[in-house]
Subunit: 197 residues, 2 copies
């Protein structure tokens, strides 16, 4: 006896990660009964984001431009290229204020169990980016999870085979830890203690 | 260095209940990188729900009609009026298949700590609905949480003062329990064991 429109909203909310049927129902109820302005804002924010955001041609993060502001900035050190898994990880790196190089955002990691291999990650774009003669060092800053480590290992082999100097941020993070959930100081330390990969 | 559009999406996602800054960031990333179709569907579902859904003039639940299908149905027993907190609770009651009366959905409960009193809940609409001469019994099916109990107590006093027969579903639910998280059988039992309130 839910109406179709309400059912559809509850279903659509389930496209959000880790939102099950009960949560989706609670969210729909909250939005419709308590926060219609918020629901309207969310609908418009989604529409805007879909229309205007795409992947930066250089670093692969989300941007409204063809090449993002960071990649275009003359103040960044183009000799260093730091590889991260997600835009959130990139933000964490920036907040350490101990890195002024450029980035490449994988938008994921190698995860064989989920069917994500080198091809699905489109690592050819990273190779192309790293082939820029300005790049002197590639810093691998994937997570220290099993998948992040496997990704770093794979990238290390791949990039060294092309004659690039490759380093890995130090294991200052706890085993199984993720950048996104680590304090800035620990990330800064891990960055300063990076070692050859 | 997030773009404005991305920041706005992350902020807007925080209007969802129990979504903090990290979850919002993860959701935005997921939608933009992995499920653009889902994001588009969600944006449209929100828009449709906002445009088309409002509160039923009789039972106060969400509907696209002036009076919802259930309230208009000749097959429902108009002598019984069951009061629930949310549309989700109403669905749970329906799934017991042991109730064929009508409903009134409070869309909340009395919660003094959150500034929700009888006035904020607009209990005048319930009084008006219960004043329908067809109504012979009002069944209170608010949750057995402290707030749900307080609400039932308040409603019991208020409705009895107007000469209505008021019952409360039986405490078959565990103390502190919520309808939404209870199995159908227990709810059915609690319904059949309702007692004078
Ligand atoms: Zn860029
Ligand atoms: Zn109705």
């Amino acid at each position: 006896m839910n109406t179709g429109v309400l059912d559809e909203l509850v279903s659509a909310l389930r496209c959000l990660p880790s939102v099950g049927p009960k949560s989706a129902q609670r969210m729909a109820f909250h939005l419709l009964q308590r926060d219609r302005a918020g629901a309207d804002r969310l609908a418009r924010a989604l529409g805007d984001a879909l229309t205007r955001l795409h992947n930066c041609a250089r670093c692969n993060t989300f941007t409204e431009l063809e090449v993002c502001e960071r990649c275009s900035s003359p103040r960044r050190d183009a000799s260093q290229l730091c590889v991260v898994e997600t835009p959130a990880d990139m933000l964490m790196m920036e907040q350490t204020h101990s890195y002024s190089g450029l980035y490449f955002c994988l938008m994921g990691r190698i995860a064989p169990l989920e069917g994500v291999g080198p091809k699905e990650l489109r690592l050819d774009r990273l190779l192309e980016r790293a082939a820029d003669p300005a790049v002197r060092e590639v810093i691998l800053a994937t997570n220290f999870t099993n998948e992040g480590e496997a990704t770093a290992h794979y990238l290390g082999e791949m990039l060294r085979a092309r004659g690039l100097a490759v380093t890995r941020i130090a294991r200052g993070l706890p085993v199984g830890g993720e950048l996104e959930h680590t304090d800035i100081g620990t990330i800064a330390q891990a960055l300063s203690e990076r070692r050859p990969a």
